[in-house]
């Protein structure tokens, strides 16, 4: 096998490794955080922690007005990577630099909450679990690893909030092959405390996830509210159409 073939083989395998979540870490249910204050808090966390490296290039800053914020509030507190509130949430990180520093360009987060849904759980569940299962791992280039995405390229961005944790593993016999042992996850161990308690960190993460879910489809509130009226109207129309039809069909012998 020559070098090129080897390279292609490795490249072909990489995505398989990156997405290998079959029978992976079980996902926690993301708590519902529908209030505007939660979403605003999520937006704040998002622009402070995520937009450094990730973009949300389908999302305009002034769409945050839908979350009850004024244009001034957006401008003074949240305008992170742009000059005007009408601009898109881009990132200052250049793709070439990202490639060099992390090995990958961080994905755009506009619709990430929709993309990560699967049979294992909603996209929200995935993100909620992913963001809370980082742990210290000195074998990794960034010093961090993750339970949901093993060998993830992303470092634990919110580590100051959560504190530093390591993972406890127990050796167990492989149920499929008794000659081998497997490492089984047995919980986290807090090394240094964060600025938030674990419970508060969970709430903050839930807010961030709620924001990501909202951002994936900002029209979803309008959609559901309007849907109720459309269904009521259509049901009434169906009732009238039914009676109209019946009145004509009375003549058919």
């Amino acid at each position: 096998m020559n070098f090129h073939k080897k390279l292609i083989a490795i490249l072909a395998l990489l995505p398989g490794l990156a997405f290998a979540n079959e029978g992976g870490h079980p996902l926690d249910k993301a708590p519902a955080r529908p209030s505007l204050t939660s979403l605003q808090n999520g937006a704040k966390l998002f622009v402070n922690y995520c937009l450094n490296c990730h973009s949300a290039s389908s999302m305009r800053y002034n769409r945050l007005k839908d979350l009850g914020l004024t244009e001034d509030q957006i401008k003074t507190n949240l305008l992170f990577s742009a000059d005007k509130v009408g601009e898109l949430m881009t990132t200052a990180l250049r793709p070439a630099d990202a490639k060099q520093w992390f090995g990958v360009v961080p994905p755009d987060l506009s619709v990430i909450a929709r993309a990560k849904a699967s049979s294992a759980g909603t996209g929200g569940d995935y993100l909620y679990t992913y963001l809370r299962t980082f742990y210290k791992d000195e074998t990794r280039p960034t010093g961090w690893n993750n339970m949901v995405v093993p060998n993830v390229a992303m470092p634990h961005v919110m580590w100051q909030l959560q504190g530093v944790r390591t993972v406890k593993m127990v050796e167990e016999k492989d149920p499929h092959d008794h000659t081998k042992t497997v490492h089984k996850f047995a919980g986290f161990e807090q090394v240094t405390p964060g600025t938030l308690s674990q419970a508060d960190f969970d709430v903050a993460t839930a807010d961030l996830v709620a924001y990501l879910e909202w951002m994936a489809e900002p029209a979803q509130g309008t959609r559901k509210r309007l849907g109720v009226w459309v269904l009521l109207f259509m049901s009434l129309f169906a009732l009238l159409a039914w009676r109209l039809s019946a009145s004509y069909w009375k003549e058919v012998k």
Partner: protein, 470 residues
């Protein structure tokens, strides 16, 4: 050709009458309306199953109208396509609604068409003299599949991209010309901007044009020979003193109001999906498709959209091991034809020769299983066209067939649905085995139909349709 004659109206006739008269002298507007709908006499015993024709028409119009508005904002460019869909979802006023109507409409179209075809199967609507209606309908189904396939690439997500890649690669399995053919279809060595542009052209103009022509032909043929009905009786054989079928009623107003009711119920269900579950659990909008297309990252699990999965399962079921089963099945079928079929000697010889060539071709040293998978995949769709000539039942409707025929239909229905379900799942050894059994059942249903459809004790068909006044 009669000389032109102007219809004379009294001076005080309503303007609308005069205008219509003016048009009718020059174009058969009233005649067209009366022939196609207004005075088109349809059997009065239509049931639930007869709503899907008008629903298909409604969804077709809806897809065209929403599609026109989507093209105003969509960018058929590999760098812009994904973003332009999100632009429609966020920035275009009511864009999200138009997009969800279009994406839900695609799945709704297939649900409706599958039910419409089930109706034809149950009541023998494809039988003489309606063979051409069935063939036009079959061509519409093919167009619909092409339309859905081309359209699915346009959002330029991971599933769009890799789905197109897999399907176009299937053409590569054809011996000799395959690789060049798939290259020609893609316009590049991988699915790329060139592919996106041509698929866009096919999706928004080429296929819709053919589709509209076929729909017109389907309806003209239907209104020429007249509709079948749940009893499978020809109502035109029993005319009243007014020259109209005694069991027929004019479509307008009776089926106009009837269909309006059907449409309203459909719209309740349709709106429920559009407004509350537009992704439909990942079946109508696949989760992976919210990730932009990436030619370097192959998703772990590539599955076509749900409406293609029954046929896709047939493709996947055709493994190298399964080829020996197929060879045995082809041999057994030829023996069966020689013993049972009332065909001329030469026809039987021809069938035997084709079968022997096919069996040789199925040997692992000759053509690989992938090629035969593509052949079976194509055949599983094309065999539907042969239905009018495969069914030898003396009655049309299932109502007057032997009771055990219902179980044959049931087994066929279950096989088809099972194939559809398995096509959405990752293949396992057990799943592959089930899909192989279902594939054999699927083809047996059609290939053995000339015999089983004529077997058993048939019930007497009444002279008049079964109808209880409401």
């Amino acid at each position: 050709m009669a000389a032109f004659k102007e219809t004379k109206f009294p001076a005080n006739a309503p303007v609308a009458d005069k205008a219509l008269g003016w048009v009718d002298d020059r174009f058969p507007l009233t005649k067209l309306w009366n022939d196609q709908w207004g005075k088109y006499y349809a059997p009065k015993n239509f049931n639930f199953w007869y709503i899907f024709g008008s629903l298909a028409m409604l969804v077709l119009v809806m897809q065209i109208v929403t599609g026109i508005f989507l093209t105003m904002h969509y960018k058929p460019d590999a760098n812009l396509a994904f973003g332009s869909v999100e632009y429609i979802m966020r920035e275009v006023p009511w864009g999200w609604l138009v997009r969800y109507m279009h994406s839900t409409g695609a799945s709704a179209f297939f649900i409706i068409v599958y039910l419409h075809m089930t109706r034809a199967l149950l009541y023998g609507s494809y039988r003489k003299p309606r063979e051409l209606i069935w063939l036009f309908g079959f061509a519409i189904f093919l167009c619909l599949m092409a339309e859905a396939f081309f359209g699915y690439l346009l959002p330029w997500g991971q599933m769009s991209y890799w789905g197109a890649q897999v399907i176009v690669n299937l053409f590569g399995a054809i011996p000799l010309i395959g690789p060049d053919l798939s290259l020609w279809i893609r316009g590049d060595y991988v699915v790329s901007d060139a592919t996106l542009n041509r698929f866009f052209a096919f999706h928004v103009i080429a296929i819709p044009l053919v589709l509209l022509g076929l729909v017109a032909a389907h309806l003209i043929a239907l209104h020429e020979v007249g509709s079948n009905n749940p009893d499978g009786i020809e109502i035109k054989e029993n005319l009243g003193p007014d020259g109209h079928p005694v069991d027929g009623i004019p479509s307008h107003p009776y089926y106009s109001v009837h269909d309006m009711f059907g449409v309203s119920v459909f719209l309740v269900l349709f709106s429920a999906v559009v407004f509350f579950a537009p992704e439909m659990g990942g079946y109508f909008l696949e989760y992976n498709n919210f990730i932009p297309a990436d030619s370097l990252k192959t998703p772990a699990h590539i599955a076509p959209t749900w409406y293609f999965t029954p046929f896709y399962s047939v493709l996947r079921a055709t493994t190298a091991d399964f080829m020996y089963v197929l060879m045995a099945a082809v041999a057994a079928y030829v023996v069966f034809i020689w013993l049972k079929a009332k065909l001329s000697f030469m026809t039987k010889v021809a069938i035997a020769v084709v079968a022997i060539v096919a069996i040789i071709g199925m040997l692992p040293q000759v053509l690989d299983a992938k090629f035969w998978g593509v052949v079976l995949f194509g055949s599983s769709v094309m065999i539907l066209a042969a239905l009018p000539w495969l069914d030898h039942s003396p009655v049309k409707s299932i109502r007057y067939r032997p009771d055990w025929h219902k179980y044959v239909y049931l087994v066929f229905g279950i096989s088809f649905v099972a194939l559809g379900y398995l096509g959405t799942q990752l293949p396992t050894a057990a799943y592959t085995l089930i899909s192989q059994v279902c594939t054999l059942l699927y083809f047996s249903f059609f290939l053995l139909m000339p015999w089983w459809s004529a077997m058993g004790t048939f019930k007497p068909v009444p002279k008049r349709v079964t109808f209880q006044p409401h």
